[in-house]
Protein backbone atom coordinates (compact mmCIF):
# COMPACT_ATOMS: atom_id res chain seq x y z
CA UNK A 1 0.00 0.00 0.00
CA UNK A 2 2.70 2.49 0.94
CA UNK A 3 4.41 2.25 -2.47
CA UNK A 4 1.05 3.05 -4.11
CA UNK A 5 0.31 6.00 -1.81
CA UNK A 6 3.87 7.35 -1.58
CA UNK A 7 4.79 7.26 -5.26
CA UNK A 8 2.25 5.91 -7.70
CA UNK A 9 -0.77 8.05 -6.82
CA UNK A 10 1.24 11.28 -7.19
CA UNK A 11 2.50 10.04 -10.57
CA UNK A 12 -1.09 9.29 -11.61
CA UNK A 13 -2.12 12.81 -10.54
CA UNK A 14 0.67 14.28 -12.68
CA UNK A 15 -0.45 12.15 -15.64
CA UNK A 16 -4.17 12.93 -15.36
CA UNK A 17 -3.79 16.66 -14.74
CA UNK A 18 -1.21 16.91 -17.51
CA UNK A 19 -3.42 15.02 -19.96
CA UNK A 20 -6.37 17.32 -19.28
CA UNK A 21 -4.22 20.36 -20.06
CA UNK A 22 -2.92 18.78 -23.28
CA UNK A 23 -6.35 17.59 -24.43
CA UNK A 24 -7.89 21.00 -23.68
CA UNK A 25 -5.53 22.42 -26.31
CA UNK A 26 -6.15 19.78 -28.96
CA UNK A 27 -9.87 19.02 -28.56
CA UNK A 28 -13.08 21.05 -28.54
CA UNK A 29 -14.86 19.02 -25.85
CA UNK A 30 -16.64 21.43 -23.41
CA UNK A 31 -16.27 18.95 -20.52
CA UNK A 32 -12.48 18.85 -20.81
CA UNK A 33 -12.43 22.64 -21.12
CA UNK A 34 -14.51 23.03 -17.93
CA UNK A 35 -12.19 20.67 -16.00
CA UNK A 36 -9.13 22.48 -17.36
CA UNK A 37 -10.54 25.85 -16.25
CA UNK A 38 -11.08 24.48 -12.73
CA UNK A 39 -7.53 23.09 -12.70
CA UNK A 40 -6.16 26.51 -13.73
CA UNK A 41 -8.07 28.25 -10.93
CA UNK A 42 -6.93 25.61 -8.44
CA UNK A 43 -3.35 26.11 -9.62
CA UNK A 44 -3.52 29.86 -8.86
CA UNK A 45 -5.00 29.22 -5.38
CA UNK A 46 -2.38 26.53 -4.69
CA UNK A 47 0.40 28.87 -5.85
CA UNK A 48 -0.82 31.53 -3.42
CA UNK A 49 -0.48 29.04 -0.51
CA UNK A 50 3.18 28.20 -1.07
CA UNK A 51 5.76 30.40 0.68
CA UNK A 52 8.76 28.04 0.71
CA UNK A 53 11.09 30.66 -0.79
CA UNK A 54 10.41 33.16 1.98
CA UNK A 55 10.59 30.44 4.65
CA UNK A 56 13.98 29.26 3.36
CA UNK A 57 15.21 32.85 3.38
CA UNK A 58 14.02 33.40 6.96
CA UNK A 59 15.67 30.13 8.05
CA UNK A 60 18.96 31.03 6.35
CA UNK A 61 19.16 34.54 7.78
CA UNK A 62 17.71 33.45 11.12
CA UNK A 63 20.53 30.91 11.49
CA UNK A 64 23.12 33.62 10.74
CA UNK A 65 21.63 35.90 13.37
CA UNK A 66 21.56 33.08 15.94
CA UNK A 67 25.17 32.18 15.23
CA UNK A 68 26.20 35.85 15.08
CA UNK A 69 28.10 35.05 11.85
CA UNK A 70 30.87 37.59 11.81
CA UNK A 71 30.36 40.50 9.35
CA UNK A 72 27.00 39.11 8.24
CA UNK A 73 24.51 38.67 11.10
CA UNK A 74 23.36 42.32 11.24
CA UNK A 75 22.70 42.29 7.48
CA UNK A 76 20.66 39.16 8.05
CA UNK A 77 18.78 40.77 10.92
CA UNK A 78 17.99 43.70 8.64
CA UNK A 79 16.76 41.33 5.89
CA UNK A 80 14.39 39.61 8.33
CA UNK A 81 13.10 42.97 9.54
CA UNK A 82 12.48 44.12 5.93
CA UNK A 83 10.69 40.88 4.99
CA UNK A 84 8.34 41.20 7.96
CA UNK A 85 7.84 44.96 7.43
CA UNK A 86 6.97 44.61 3.71
CA UNK A 87 4.65 41.68 4.42
CA UNK A 88 2.80 43.36 7.33
CA UNK A 89 2.60 46.82 5.71
CA UNK A 90 1.39 45.20 2.51
CA UNK A 91 -1.50 43.58 4.33
CA UNK A 92 -2.15 46.62 6.53
CA UNK A 93 -2.17 49.30 3.82
CA UNK A 94 -3.21 46.88 1.06
CA UNK A 95 -0.77 45.79 -1.69
CA UNK A 96 -2.56 48.08 -4.17
CA UNK A 97 -2.63 51.16 -1.89
CA UNK A 98 -0.83 54.40 -2.77
CA UNK A 99 1.40 54.02 0.31
CA UNK A 100 2.58 50.60 -0.81
CA UNK A 101 3.08 51.89 -4.34
CA UNK A 102 5.22 54.66 -2.84
CA UNK A 103 7.35 51.97 -1.13
CA UNK A 104 7.75 50.19 -4.47
CA UNK A 105 8.62 53.33 -6.43
CA UNK A 106 11.25 54.57 -4.01
CA UNK A 107 12.90 51.33 -2.76
CA UNK A 108 12.30 48.38 -5.10
CA UNK A 109 12.44 50.19 -8.44
CA UNK A 110 15.73 52.01 -7.80
CA UNK A 111 17.30 48.88 -6.29
CA UNK A 112 16.07 46.42 -8.90
CA UNK A 113 16.66 48.58 -11.95
CA UNK A 114 20.07 49.83 -10.86
CA UNK A 115 21.42 46.40 -9.94
CA UNK A 116 20.64 45.08 -13.40
CA UNK A 117 21.59 48.32 -15.10
CA UNK A 118 25.02 48.38 -13.43
CA UNK A 119 25.91 45.48 -15.70
CA UNK A 120 26.39 48.25 -18.28
CA UNK A 121 29.73 49.03 -16.62
CA UNK A 122 30.76 45.40 -16.76
CA UNK A 123 29.69 45.38 -20.38
CA UNK A 124 31.89 48.36 -21.17
CA UNK A 125 34.94 47.84 -18.95
CA UNK A 126 34.99 44.07 -18.93
CA UNK A 127 34.01 43.03 -22.41
CA UNK A 128 36.51 45.45 -23.96
CA UNK A 129 39.35 43.43 -22.44
CA UNK A 130 38.30 40.06 -23.73
CA UNK A 131 36.63 40.73 -27.11
CA UNK A 132 39.55 39.65 -29.28
CA UNK A 133 39.26 38.16 -32.77
CA UNK A 134 41.27 35.11 -31.61
CA UNK A 135 39.96 32.77 -34.31
CA UNK A 136 37.61 32.73 -37.33
CA UNK A 137 34.57 31.89 -35.23
CA UNK A 138 35.04 34.75 -32.75
CA UNK A 139 36.06 37.08 -35.60
CA UNK A 140 32.70 36.43 -37.33
CA UNK A 141 30.90 36.94 -34.04
CA UNK A 142 32.74 40.21 -33.41
CA UNK A 143 32.14 41.53 -36.93
CA UNK A 144 28.44 40.79 -36.62
CA UNK A 145 28.29 42.38 -33.13
CA UNK A 146 30.17 45.44 -34.42
CA UNK A 147 27.80 46.00 -37.35
CA UNK A 148 24.73 45.55 -35.13
CA UNK A 149 26.03 48.03 -32.54
CA UNK A 150 26.71 50.56 -35.31
CA UNK A 151 23.20 50.01 -36.65
CA UNK A 152 21.78 50.50 -33.17
CA UNK A 153 23.72 53.75 -32.64
CA UNK A 154 21.49 56.51 -34.17
CA UNK A 155 24.65 58.49 -35.03
CA UNK A 156 25.65 56.11 -37.88
CA UNK A 157 22.26 55.54 -39.60
CA UNK A 158 21.75 59.32 -39.39
CA UNK A 159 24.96 59.75 -41.42
CA UNK A 160 24.70 56.64 -43.69
CA UNK A 161 21.22 55.02 -43.79
CA UNK A 162 22.61 51.67 -44.99
CA UNK A 163 24.05 51.07 -41.47
CA UNK A 164 20.47 50.48 -40.31
CA UNK A 165 19.80 48.38 -43.41
CA UNK A 166 22.88 46.16 -42.76
CA UNK A 167 21.87 45.73 -39.12
CA UNK A 168 18.31 44.73 -40.11
CA UNK A 169 19.63 42.39 -42.83
CA UNK A 170 21.76 40.49 -40.28
CA UNK A 171 18.64 39.98 -38.14
CA UNK A 172 16.36 39.09 -41.07
CA UNK A 173 18.76 36.39 -42.31
CA UNK A 174 21.38 35.03 -39.89
CA UNK A 175 19.41 35.58 -36.70
CA UNK A 176 16.10 34.28 -38.11
CA UNK A 177 17.75 31.24 -39.71
CA UNK A 178 20.12 30.14 -36.94
CA UNK A 179 17.80 30.96 -34.04
CA UNK A 180 14.94 29.14 -35.80
CA UNK A 181 17.12 25.99 -35.84
CA UNK A 182 17.94 26.53 -32.15
CA UNK A 183 14.28 27.27 -31.37
CA UNK A 184 13.09 24.05 -33.10
CA UNK A 185 15.59 22.03 -31.07
CA UNK A 186 14.60 23.67 -27.76
CA UNK A 187 10.90 23.18 -28.60
CA UNK A 188 11.27 19.47 -29.42
CA UNK A 189 13.41 19.03 -26.30
CA UNK A 190 10.58 20.59 -24.27
CA UNK A 191 8.09 18.12 -25.75
CA UNK A 192 10.39 15.20 -24.88
CA UNK A 193 10.78 16.44 -21.30
CA UNK A 194 7.00 16.94 -21.06
CA UNK A 195 6.24 13.38 -22.20
CA UNK A 196 8.90 11.92 -19.87
CA UNK A 197 7.42 13.85 -16.92
CA UNK A 198 3.75 13.08 -17.60
CA UNK A 199 4.48 9.37 -18.10
CA UNK A 200 6.46 9.18 -14.86
CA UNK A 201 9.85 8.57 -16.51
CA UNK A 202 11.29 11.82 -15.13
CA UNK A 203 10.63 11.73 -11.39
CA UNK A 204 13.40 14.02 -10.19
CA UNK A 205 10.73 16.44 -9.00
CA UNK A 206 9.45 13.84 -6.53
CA UNK A 207 12.69 14.19 -4.65
CA UNK A 208 13.66 10.56 -4.09
CA UNK A 209 14.71 9.96 -0.45
CA UNK A 210 17.67 7.67 0.12
CA UNK A 211 16.72 4.15 1.15
CA UNK A 212 13.26 4.31 -0.40
Amino acid sequence: MSELVRRNVPLIITFLVGMVMVLEYYTVSPEIMAVAEQINTWRVILYACVYLGTINLLRLHGRRVMRRTEGQWYFSAWTILIIVAYAVLGLYYGVESTNYRWMMDNVNVPLGSTMYASLAFYMAAGAYRVLRARNLGVALLLASAFLVIMGNTPLFPAMFPWFAAVRNWIFDTFVVGSYRAIRIGVGLGGVALGIRTLFGLETGYLGRRRGE
Binding site: Y25, E37, N40, T41, R43, V44, Y47, A48, G90, V95, E96, Y100, R101, M104, D105, N108, V109, P110, L111, G112, S113, M115, Y116, A117, A120, F121, M123, A124, A125, A127, Y128, R129, L131, R132, A133, L142, F146, I149, M150, N152, T153, P154, L155, P157, A158, P161, A164, N168, F171, D172, V175, V176, Y179, R180, I182, R183
Partner: protein
Protein backbone atom coordinates in the same frame (compact mmCIF):
# COMPACT_ATOMS: atom_id res chain seq x y z
CA UNK B 1 57.07 49.92 -28.94
CA UNK B 2 55.38 46.87 -27.53
CA UNK B 3 54.58 48.76 -24.31
CA UNK B 4 52.09 50.94 -26.30
CA UNK B 5 50.25 47.80 -27.47
CA UNK B 6 50.29 46.42 -23.93
CA UNK B 7 48.85 49.71 -22.63
CA UNK B 8 46.13 49.70 -25.30
CA UNK B 9 45.01 46.32 -24.01
CA UNK B 10 45.02 47.37 -20.40
CA UNK B 11 43.25 50.71 -20.03
CA UNK B 12 42.44 51.03 -16.29
CA UNK B 13 38.84 50.21 -15.35
CA UNK B 14 38.40 53.50 -13.51
CA UNK B 15 39.13 55.45 -16.67
CA UNK B 16 36.60 53.40 -18.63
CA UNK B 17 33.93 53.85 -15.94
CA UNK B 18 34.58 57.60 -15.96
CA UNK B 19 34.24 57.68 -19.76
CA UNK B 20 30.95 55.74 -19.61
CA UNK B 21 29.48 57.98 -16.89
CA UNK B 22 30.44 61.15 -18.78
CA UNK B 23 29.07 59.70 -22.02
CA UNK B 24 25.76 59.06 -20.23
CA UNK B 25 25.52 62.38 -18.35
CA UNK B 26 26.66 64.78 -21.10
CA UNK B 27 23.84 64.17 -23.65
CA UNK B 28 21.23 64.49 -20.87
CA UNK B 29 22.51 67.95 -20.02
CA UNK B 30 22.82 69.00 -23.68
CA UNK B 31 20.95 66.68 -26.01
CA UNK B 32 22.40 65.98 -29.45
CA UNK B 33 18.92 65.55 -30.95
CA UNK B 34 19.78 62.92 -33.57
CA UNK B 35 17.00 61.83 -35.96
CA UNK B 36 15.43 58.46 -35.14
CA UNK B 37 15.27 55.98 -38.07
CA UNK B 38 12.08 54.08 -37.25
CA UNK B 39 12.54 50.32 -37.79
CA UNK B 40 10.13 48.03 -39.67
CA UNK B 41 9.36 45.93 -36.60
CA UNK B 42 8.23 49.07 -34.72
CA UNK B 43 6.08 50.15 -37.68
CA UNK B 44 4.48 46.70 -37.76
CA UNK B 45 3.78 46.95 -34.02
CA UNK B 46 2.22 50.40 -34.43
CA UNK B 47 0.08 49.34 -37.39
CA UNK B 48 -1.07 46.17 -35.63
CA UNK B 49 -2.21 48.21 -32.61
CA UNK B 50 -3.82 50.75 -34.93
CA UNK B 51 -5.77 48.09 -36.85
CA UNK B 52 -7.33 46.67 -33.67
CA UNK B 53 -11.08 46.45 -34.12
CA UNK B 54 -13.09 49.31 -32.63
CA UNK B 55 -15.08 48.39 -29.54
CA UNK B 56 -12.86 45.37 -28.82
CA UNK B 57 -10.83 44.66 -25.67
CA UNK B 58 -7.02 44.96 -25.52
CA UNK B 59 -5.15 42.90 -22.92
CA UNK B 60 -2.08 44.94 -21.86
CA UNK B 61 0.44 42.88 -19.87
CA UNK B 62 2.86 44.96 -17.76
CA UNK B 63 5.58 42.53 -16.66
CA UNK B 64 8.99 44.28 -16.71
CA UNK B 65 9.28 44.99 -13.00
CA UNK B 66 12.09 47.16 -11.72
CA UNK B 67 14.85 45.77 -13.95
CA UNK B 68 13.09 46.54 -17.23
CA UNK B 69 11.42 49.80 -16.21
CA UNK B 70 14.06 52.22 -17.55
CA UNK B 71 13.80 50.58 -21.00
CA UNK B 72 10.14 49.54 -21.30
CA UNK B 73 8.13 52.05 -19.23
CA UNK B 74 8.52 54.69 -21.98
CA UNK B 75 7.12 52.13 -24.46
CA UNK B 76 4.16 51.41 -22.13
CA UNK B 77 3.39 55.15 -21.97
CA UNK B 78 3.67 55.64 -25.74
CA UNK B 79 1.44 52.63 -26.51
CA UNK B 80 -1.09 53.74 -23.90
CA UNK B 81 -1.26 57.16 -25.54
CA UNK B 82 -2.00 55.37 -28.83
CA UNK B 83 -4.61 53.02 -27.34
CA UNK B 84 -6.40 55.85 -25.49
CA UNK B 85 -6.91 57.65 -28.79
CA UNK B 86 -8.81 54.61 -30.08
CA UNK B 87 -12.26 53.21 -29.25
CA UNK B 88 -10.95 50.15 -27.33
CA UNK B 89 -11.28 48.95 -23.73
CA UNK B 90 -7.91 48.17 -22.13
CA UNK B 91 -7.40 45.45 -19.49
CA UNK B 92 -4.03 46.09 -17.79
CA UNK B 93 -2.90 43.10 -15.71
CA UNK B 94 0.08 42.58 -13.39
CA UNK B 95 1.28 39.91 -10.97
CA UNK B 96 3.37 41.95 -8.49
CA UNK B 97 3.22 45.32 -6.73
CA UNK B 98 6.21 46.77 -8.64
CA UNK B 99 4.41 46.38 -11.98
CA UNK B 100 1.24 47.67 -10.35
CA UNK B 101 3.16 50.84 -9.40
CA UNK B 102 4.54 51.03 -12.97
CA UNK B 103 0.98 50.76 -14.36
CA UNK B 104 -0.43 53.53 -12.19
CA UNK B 105 2.57 55.69 -13.12
CA UNK B 106 1.48 55.30 -16.77
CA UNK B 107 -1.89 56.86 -15.86
CA UNK B 108 -0.18 59.67 -13.93
CA UNK B 109 1.92 60.52 -16.99
CA UNK B 110 -0.98 59.98 -19.43
CA UNK B 111 -3.91 61.76 -17.76
CA UNK B 112 -6.69 59.52 -19.22
CA UNK B 113 -9.33 62.23 -18.63
CA UNK B 114 -7.64 64.22 -21.42
CA UNK B 115 -8.74 61.41 -23.79
CA UNK B 116 -12.17 61.24 -22.19
CA UNK B 117 -11.36 57.85 -20.72
CA UNK B 118 -12.33 56.79 -17.20
CA UNK B 119 -11.48 53.87 -14.96
CA UNK B 120 -14.03 51.06 -15.05
CA UNK B 121 -15.55 52.25 -18.31
CA UNK B 122 -12.56 52.32 -20.68
CA UNK B 123 -9.71 50.72 -18.77
CA UNK B 124 -9.17 48.54 -15.72
CA UNK B 125 -6.22 47.14 -13.74
CA UNK B 126 -6.24 43.51 -12.56
CA UNK B 127 -3.96 41.90 -9.96
CA UNK B 128 -3.20 38.23 -10.49
CA UNK B 129 -0.72 35.63 -9.29
CA UNK B 130 0.42 32.14 -10.24
CA UNK B 131 2.58 30.67 -13.01
CA UNK B 132 2.48 32.90 -16.10
CA UNK B 133 0.92 30.44 -18.59
CA UNK B 134 -1.93 29.85 -16.14
CA UNK B 135 -2.49 33.61 -15.70
CA UNK B 136 -2.66 34.04 -19.50
CA UNK B 137 -5.16 31.16 -19.86
CA UNK B 138 -7.39 32.76 -17.19
CA UNK B 139 -7.25 36.30 -18.61
CA UNK B 140 -7.86 35.15 -22.20
CA UNK B 141 -10.36 32.38 -21.61
CA UNK B 142 -12.01 32.41 -18.19
CA UNK B 143 -11.64 35.89 -16.64
CA UNK B 144 -15.03 36.79 -15.14
CA UNK B 145 -15.54 33.43 -13.40
CA UNK B 146 -12.04 33.24 -11.93
CA UNK B 147 -11.11 36.83 -11.05
CA UNK B 148 -13.99 38.32 -9.04
CA UNK B 149 -12.40 41.73 -8.36
CA UNK B 150 -10.04 44.27 -9.93
CA UNK B 151 -7.08 45.98 -8.23
CA UNK B 152 -9.42 48.53 -6.62
CA UNK B 153 -11.68 45.90 -5.04
CA UNK B 154 -14.56 46.58 -7.49
CA UNK B 155 -16.55 43.54 -8.60
CA UNK B 156 -15.69 42.97 -12.26
CA UNK B 157 -19.32 42.29 -13.16
CA UNK B 158 -20.33 45.69 -11.77
CA UNK B 159 -17.90 47.59 -14.02
CA UNK B 160 -19.66 49.07 -17.07
CA UNK B 161 -16.91 47.97 -19.47
CA UNK B 162 -17.57 44.30 -18.72
CA UNK B 163 -21.27 44.44 -19.55
CA UNK B 164 -21.98 41.69 -22.09
CA UNK B 165 -18.32 40.61 -22.04
CA UNK B 166 -18.01 37.18 -23.68
CA UNK B 167 -14.35 36.41 -22.94
CA UNK B 168 -12.05 35.30 -25.81
CA UNK B 169 -14.10 36.53 -28.81
CA UNK B 170 -14.13 40.12 -27.51
CA UNK B 171 -10.34 40.37 -27.25
CA UNK B 172 -8.97 42.11 -30.34
CA UNK B 173 -5.28 42.27 -29.29
CA UNK B 174 -2.78 41.20 -26.66
CA UNK B 175 0.00 43.73 -26.08
CA UNK B 176 2.78 42.51 -23.79
CA UNK B 177 5.90 44.17 -22.36
CA UNK B 178 8.32 41.86 -20.51
CA UNK B 179 11.93 41.19 -19.61
CA UNK B 180 11.30 37.43 -19.29
CA UNK B 181 11.84 34.99 -22.16
CA UNK B 182 9.36 32.51 -20.65
CA UNK B 183 6.64 35.21 -20.71
CA UNK B 184 7.32 36.42 -24.27
CA UNK B 185 7.36 32.80 -25.53
CA UNK B 186 4.38 31.94 -23.32
CA UNK B 187 2.25 34.57 -25.04
CA UNK B 188 2.93 32.91 -28.41
CA UNK B 189 1.76 29.56 -26.96
CA UNK B 190 -1.36 30.98 -25.28
CA UNK B 191 -2.53 34.06 -27.22
CA UNK B 192 -1.57 32.98 -30.75
CA UNK B 193 -1.52 29.19 -30.65
CA UNK B 194 -4.25 28.35 -28.12
CA UNK B 195 -6.74 31.25 -28.43
CA UNK B 196 -5.88 32.64 -31.91
CA UNK B 197 -5.68 36.27 -30.71
CA UNK B 198 -3.51 38.95 -32.41
CA UNK B 199 -0.25 39.48 -30.49
CA UNK B 200 2.19 42.42 -30.37
CA UNK B 201 5.21 42.13 -28.11
CA UNK B 202 7.82 44.35 -26.50
CA UNK B 203 11.01 43.23 -24.69
CA UNK B 204 14.64 43.98 -23.93
CA UNK B 205 16.66 44.04 -27.17
CA UNK B 206 18.81 41.13 -25.92
CA UNK B 207 15.66 38.96 -26.31
CA UNK B 208 15.03 39.91 -29.95
CA UNK B 209 17.22 37.14 -31.41
CA UNK B 210 15.36 34.32 -29.72
CA UNK B 211 11.92 35.84 -30.49
CA UNK B 212 12.44 36.99 -34.12
CA UNK B 213 11.64 33.54 -35.63
CA UNK B 214 8.07 33.97 -34.32
CA UNK B 215 7.86 37.44 -35.91
CA UNK B 216 9.19 36.24 -39.27
CA UNK B 217 6.70 33.33 -39.19
CA UNK B 218 3.86 35.84 -38.62
CA UNK B 219 2.95 34.59 -35.13
CA UNK B 220 3.91 37.98 -33.61
CA UNK B 221 2.58 40.90 -35.71
CA UNK B 222 5.26 43.39 -34.65
CA UNK B 223 7.48 44.09 -31.68
CA UNK B 224 9.25 46.81 -29.70
CA UNK B 225 13.00 46.09 -29.66
CA UNK B 226 14.13 47.52 -26.31
CA UNK B 227 14.76 51.24 -25.86
CA UNK B 228 15.35 51.68 -29.61
CA UNK B 229 11.88 50.29 -30.35
CA UNK B 230 10.39 52.40 -27.55
CA UNK B 231 11.88 55.54 -29.15
CA UNK B 232 10.49 54.47 -32.54
CA UNK B 233 7.00 54.05 -31.02
CA UNK B 234 7.22 57.41 -29.25
CA UNK B 235 7.95 59.00 -32.64
CA UNK B 236 5.14 57.05 -34.39
CA UNK B 237 2.63 57.97 -31.65
CA UNK B 238 4.14 61.49 -31.70
CA UNK B 239 4.68 61.54 -27.96
CA UNK B 240 8.48 61.90 -27.65
CA UNK B 241 9.58 61.05 -24.13
CA UNK B 242 12.36 59.34 -22.17
CA UNK B 243 13.06 56.72 -24.86
CA UNK B 244 13.97 59.36 -27.46
CA UNK B 245 16.31 60.88 -24.85
CA UNK B 246 17.84 57.45 -24.10
CA UNK B 247 18.57 56.71 -27.78
CA UNK B 248 20.26 60.09 -27.99
CA UNK B 249 22.52 59.07 -25.13
CA UNK B 250 23.01 55.61 -26.63
CA UNK B 251 24.88 57.16 -29.53
CA UNK B 252 27.70 58.41 -27.30
CA UNK B 253 27.98 55.41 -24.97
CA UNK B 254 27.91 52.90 -27.83
CA UNK B 255 30.44 54.98 -29.74
CA UNK B 256 32.81 54.69 -26.80
CA UNK B 257 32.08 50.98 -26.61
CA UNK B 258 32.97 50.49 -30.28
CA UNK B 259 36.15 52.55 -29.84
CA UNK B 260 37.18 50.36 -26.88
CA UNK B 261 36.76 47.18 -28.93
CA UNK B 262 38.85 48.61 -31.79
CA UNK B 263 41.56 49.84 -29.41
CA UNK B 264 41.61 46.51 -27.59
CA UNK B 265 42.05 44.56 -30.81
CA UNK B 266 44.72 46.93 -32.16
CA UNK B 267 46.65 46.37 -28.96
CA UNK B 268 46.11 42.58 -29.19
CA UNK B 269 47.20 42.18 -32.83
CA UNK B 270 49.98 44.78 -32.45
CA UNK B 271 51.51 42.94 -29.50
CA UNK B 272 50.97 39.61 -31.26
CA UNK B 273 52.73 40.70 -34.47
CA UNK B 274 55.62 42.20 -32.47
CA UNK B 275 55.74 39.10 -30.32
CA UNK B 276 56.18 36.99 -33.48
CA UNK B 277 58.65 39.48 -34.91
CA UNK B 278 60.91 39.11 -31.86
CA UNK B 279 61.05 35.31 -31.50
Amino acid sequence: MSSIFEKLQDIPRGLIFGLVIIAMAYPILNPIGLPITVGQTSKDAFNAVDETEDGSFVVFHVQYGAGGKPTLQPAAIAVSHHLFQKDVKVIYFVDNPVDLANTYEIFDKLDPAKYGKSYGEDYVVLSLTGPFLTQAAIVLGNLIETVPKDSEENNLVDLPMFEGYTETEDIGLVFQLTTSGDVSEGWVYQAVSRYNIRLVGGWLSMMTSSMIPYYQAGQILGFIDGSKGAADYEVLANHPGDAVMITDILSLTQLIYLALIVVGNIGYFGAKSLGEGKS
